[in-house]
Symmetry: C2
Subunit: 315 residues, 2 copies
Amino acid sequence: MTSTAADPLPSWNDGPVKQGILAFVAKVAKEGSPDFLPPAERIAVYDNDGTLWPENPMPFQAAFAFDELNRHIVNEPKLASDPMVQAALACDLSKLLEGEHFDGLMRVLALTHAGMTTDEFRDAVEAWFKSARHPRYGRPYDELTYQPMQELLRYLQANGFKNFIVSGGGADFMRVWVERVYGIPPERVVGSTARTTFELRDSGPVLTKTLDYLFVNDKAGKPVGIHQFIGRRPTICCGNSDGDYAMLQYTTINNPRPSFGLIVHHTDGEREFAYDAETKSTGRLVEALKEAPKRGWLVVDMKRDWNTVFLSESK
Amino acid sequence: MTSTAADPLPSWNDGPVKQGILAFVAKVAKEGSPDFLPPAERIAVYDNDGTLWPENPMPFQAAFAFDELNRHIVNEPKLASDPMVQAALACDLSKLLEGEHFDGLMRVLALTHAGMTTDEFRDAVEAWFKSARHPRYGRPYDELTYQPMQELLRYLQANGFKNFIVSGGGADFMRVWVERVYGIPPERVVGSTARTTFELRDSGPVLTKTLDYLFVNDKAGKPVGIHQFIGRRPTICCGNSDGDYAMLQYTTINNPRPSFGLIVHHTDGEREFAYDAETKSTGRLVEALKEAPKRGWLVVDMKRDWNTVFLSESK
């Protein structure tokens, strides 16, 4: 294990993945190198759920939605007759995840993510992060980011990369806390979105969340979202599931620039969760893992490559 | 006229507008000031057509579209039977601008902005900027940005503001040249968009432009676009027409942060164009101008306030 003061990635054990990261950055950040990347092209995209923090036992935003449903149902008892609400309250994720785009999950998110102003939604998200605790770790959800990935974010930023979250999660949900938690400003978040409506009320301008023009930033939607929001092809892509397969391809295949793909493989059931083809949450990983050797994508073996998973763990 | 080496806005004549800009920046950028703006909140949004460059005799992107139509029609003669194509080839802007959202113009843009890959579209835009000349000035379109606004962009950036274009123009169109022309990176462009489709071809990953989910970033769409792409309320907003009215309101009304609105009023028919309520192009300005005094929005009198309009003009 390399862990000196000068090591930018102290939570990473020495090995091919850590060496691969360091070697890539060394070759692209060095002026005069044949692989030099102009700073403008240093665009790094990261999936969030399962890549920067866990997505078990369910995506954190789903936990927020279920808690919100429980809070709303007191005032709107008729919600309880919705089969998807029933599935949510029973934490029956498999029912919610049926269909190509997790339609049930989207239905529930919709019930808890629309019909309020953007300020009201932000306040609800902030309140939830203050009060909710992860069922396994008993800690606030936003303390559960992966320390090695936090180090990677900072290391790449220090080397001139712009970090962007590119997640299936809601952009409005993430933008409440990404700056505080990852040091990434809200405008560098590409997520699932729906359109708001603008009106000028007596109290001032108001944006109200709707479900119109829902854009699900997952699978083939990720390169689409990257183009729509960033407008430039990334040169680094980090993901953990087949939801990230398309953006790994978009980043690395026939890219005229040097490029880099990384997959976080969840192999550590003791400290975190172990899954790939079979998962009870989101995060199924089959196709991208199979293609990784051919494409040169580095696969993080969480158990082997990370000496720390969460901050405040004893090292 | 103030024009010393230390003057950050030498193309601006001394007067209430220039003093208003300098005073606002001085109060918000000074640590310890009661009006201090944390750097994260220094978000400045700018309309493009009519604010950073002319929108006469027609928006530059419309000129691009018409030139492209002429280029395409050789291979697709049936296009000529489309009444909107006929209007375009006759440069009948008033017909194209009928309807709440300029439906005719959008139809023509659609014919010239969809059905090709994003790379092909980028190449077409680049080629056009190299070859096309503005009918009045005889210069490449991208040399016709307003020098005073270029100075404002640089001055605000030097004071920690992030500059974002928020334009009714197409995001894909603008992102080709914004970095070169304004020093604004592609991801800081909020524009009209439609969804692309992603596929992996033998040649590599490809995004194809479609017309689906068209989002027109104009009028009430501008605050909506700002929320969707930036995710944070701006504190500076510069526009020139009623298309910018909603984002001026969104930026300045009941904003808990210090905020600043500016309207470029086209009063200089000699050096540029003179219009407000009556215009043959886009850029109608009535409501926002009427509300400016009440809201404290500064109104640039182009003839009075700018000693230079375009770069390379003799001073």
